[in-house]
Subunit: 154 residues, 2 copies
Amino acid sequence: METRIDRIKKQLHAASYKLTPQREATVRVLLDHEEDHLSAEDVYLLVKDIAPEIGLATVYRTLELLTELKIVDKINFGDGVSRFDLRQEGAAHFHHHLVCLECGAVDEIQEDLLEDVEGVVEKRWNFQIKDHRLTFHGICWRCHDRSSQDSPEK
Amino acid sequence: METRIDRIKKQLHAASYKLTPQREATVRVLLDHEEDHLSAEDVYLLVKDIAPEIGLATVYRTLELLTELKIVDKINFGDGVSRFDLRQEGAAHFHHHLVCLECGAVDEIQEDLLEDVEGVVEKRWNFQIKDHRLTFHGICWRCHDRSSQDSPEK
DNA sequence: TAGCACATTATAATCATTATAATTTAAACG
DNA sequence: CGTTTAAATTATAATGATTATAATGTGCTA
């Protein structure tokens, strides 16, 4: 886990930025919540637990910086807020999302799945793909279960 | 073209809404700019040419209404604004987009392309898909051409 | 024509995000 | 060690998109 931060530190240095305490605290929060899709405000509140003096603007700037360096991804699910997500290490492409229309849960798909589709697009539209975003909207397995049987105890 | 508006009128009536002059003007603007991806503000300014007394709030409400009825789609390319796009008639699914990182152009893909992928997702993640969003980021054919040869006359 | 529901307008309010200006930190140098 | 200088941070104000509010208008139905 430490090594993960060290590698991020190197990435920052490679672009001649420093890993300041505030930036480190922000990264730590992201590492501790890899599953979630935190908004800038969420991150801010969580970072305050570690570094209470931090300002909201700094969190925004840090997230912007990390986005630029492709350490995190900025996503937008259509509600008014941007969400931030740590990239899988070594992932060339953005992972996909399943957004449940019922309960609002957001699950992730790490598999690529789009290789074939990308081939078609590159050829047919003569478009050189750098990245992609794919989101499915529908009903997640949890809500399925809930409606088919009477909520079994967890 | 007239028939297109008539059909939209029927869709509204079916949901017990009326096609008021303001709503008609808004729809007309969307029809006249099917290629573009207009923001609410863009639509507002264009509608003012036809119906100068219209208010911004009405445009927002109309676009929201049309989105609800699946007549238009609300998209978000990550810049701060929502954009609105008339659905292809009879399209069950949302069309895809190619966003050029160089010139910012947004092209559309009407083909589905995702049938196979959706089958996999529904089965493997037990997720009942209702809709999807797919956007590719990369370099469009125009920018390709521009950089490989010296801009030929249009 | 009176009553009533729906639409619309102008304006204000809200919320996320970004810019500003003053202050702090810290690396670099002598 | 002090000094200098650039980058980073902070608190706050400003901006810009969107939504809510309250007052007014429109047009059917009886």
